[in-house]
Amino acid sequence: MHPDIICLGHKLRNNQITGTNARCFAILITLRKIIEEYRGSPETINKNISVLLDEVRAYLRTARKLGSGVESYLDNLKLSIFNSNRDIGLGLTKKLSDDIGDFIDQKIRKADDLIIKNGLELINDDDVILTFGRSYVVERLLRECKKKFHLIIVDNPPYYEGRQMALRLARQIPITYTCISGVAYFMRKVQKVFLGASSMLSNGALISRVGTAMISCIAHMYRKPVLVFCETYKFSEKTQLDSLSENELADPQALLEPGDKTTAINLRYDLTPRNYINMVITETGLIPPTSIPVMLRELTRIQGTN
């Protein structure tokens, strides 16, 4: 196994790279590097690269689940290897490398630029915005916004990701920092809730950092709009009704004091049902959560004609 992959596996397992966008980016960049470094025979390149791809995926999965967006992209990549001309030879590495580069450029970088452009219009002067955890795109949006608003950052043990966001934004935005137990107190004063996403499902549900469902529920109770910022590559064909049927477990020791023998469950994600979400901001525009399967259909159609 390539040392870069082993290193990446380590980082994923030890939470050194967190956040769906960051992990997707790291996985694809590393994969692109090792595809470019392929030095095997050009005759069997199609088969070899396909096998390489499978091995890398299997290895990374032992470190941590990859995420549905990455998995579906890699499935497409494998399909494009299969559909490639047999005589392409070493040109295949260039083709795949370009494909990965395009994906990162279009579906992550440019998508985020468009999401932020759409999102800037949703912030008004004197707004109080509540956000949870640390979403890359929400952080960038808040940093680029030139309007005067107040930010409430809600945080959650064991990883306290909100602190990172607070440190980065405190210089330019007045911030109130609180834990989840304080949310009901602040929710009255809030105008909008901004959330990031790990993925969004076909039934309009949101999979995001554990605690998001609670925030959305409280926001709904107070009739405050909940806005989810999500790139379209994170849209999944899957459907899920609750947080427990499919989830990821992180290290239980992170929740306990050293030496404590209690059984702890450290869930990474939870599921927010569709009716607690008011709007999803994607690079294609603003859509209601019920339109996720519509978007998936349109994107597959557009991809098919290309």
């Binding site: 949703l122 709009p225 519509v294 349109e298 557009i302």
Partner: protein
């Protein structure tokens, strides 16, 4: 020389000639007039001229005599839809001669005109089976489409139902609707706005029109609609909306504050009836023209494209914009 006021001037002319009310067709006719008389020789020039005329027309609708500020919102949406329609049809034409392009485009716009003209009949056929014999319908305000629906159902389809109409202050549109329903023999009664919840107990369904249907599946309609919708939800009465599909707009309001500027405030329109004394009419007021009814309060929308649930509206809008 590009004349972007051509459509506007023609519109003002047609509004004077025609009976009041059906402004959608008048808008299309004005833009069709520009298209037929265009002197442009290039595709881009043609598109540019249409775009400028559409923009000028929709932005100056409020200055047109005889047009209410509320209906200008629906026409604004139609204008945008028209522009999108023309652009997508134009890009689909591969002919080189501008004459051919122009005549094909005129034919497409005339199709659109046909569609808009027949939309009322289609809405009627969507909604008819929900107007059953013996029911009591609660209507808020006066939408021309609702009036058409109820009159046709009673006269042409012999449905027997009764109607409760709310006044819809401050414009009191409900008075005109009650009169026209009584004129065709429908048992109609008027209630004050404060009695909406009281009257809903007796009603079986609630029926309203819409100025605009937004992306969420919610509607923007005359002030008081939101109140009716909230009461209907509480009292478990179905809340039905009738509207044409050209009123679907890619707007996404989250709260009442997000309404378009043009309907947020009544501005110079009178709030109080002339009988009220001066010391009341000088009070500071909060007087919106329209309100936003969120999709969770809307049961179904009856449109010329069929019966929609609120979540299907976004699907339709995405399809229209990707077509």
């Amino acid at each position: 020389m590009l004349d972007s006021k051509k459509a506007y001037n023609h519109f003002v002319l047609l509004v004077k000639e025609r009976p009041p009310g059906d402004f959608a067709l008048t808008l299309i006719d004005s833009l069709l007039h520009v298209l037929k008389e265009t002197q442009e020789t290039t595709r881009q020039g043609l598109l540019h001229e249409m775009k400028d005329n559409t923009n000028y027309l929709t932005e100056n609708l409020i200055n047109v005599e005889g047009l209410t500020r509320k209906s200008s919102l629906a026409l604004h949406t139609l204008g945008r839809f028209f522009h999108h329609y023309i652009t997508s049809k134009l890009s689909g034409l591969s002919d080189t001669s501008l004459e051919v392009i122009r005549s094909k485009l005129v034919a497409r716009v005339e199709d659109l005109r046909e569609f808009v003209m027949s939309s009322r009949g289609k809405v009627l056929s969507s909604a008819l089976e929900f107007i059953k014999d013996g029911i009591t319908i609660f209507v808020h305000g006066n939408s021309p489409l609702v009036e058409f629906l109820l009159v046709e159902a009673a006269v042409k389809h012999n449905k027997k139902f009764s109607v409760i109409v709310s006044e819809a202050r401050p414009d009191c549109e409900g008075y005109a609707l009650t009169k026209s329903l009584l004129a065709v023999g429908i048992a109609a009664r008027l209630v004050v706005d404060a009695a909406v919840a009281y009257a809903l107990e007796e009603a079986d369904i609630v029926l309203v029109g819409a100025e605009t249907v937004v992306e969420t599946g919610g509607i923007i309609n005359g002030i008081g609609t939101y109140t009716c919708a909230l009461c209907a939800k509480m009292l478990k009465k179905p809340f039905y909306v009738v509207c044409e599909s050209f009123k679907f707009a890619r707007m996404y309001p989250l709260t009442q504050k997000d309404l378009p500027e043009i309907v947020k405030d009544r501005k110079t329109l009178p709030l109080f009836r002339s009988r009220e004394t001066d010391d009341v009419t000088n009070l500071p007021v909060l007087s919106p023209l329209c309100d936003y009814t969120p999709p969770d309060l809307v049961t179904l929308l009856f449109t010329d494209m069929g019966i929609f649930t609120p979540s299907a509206v976004s699907d339709e809008l995405i399809q229209i914009s990707n077509a």
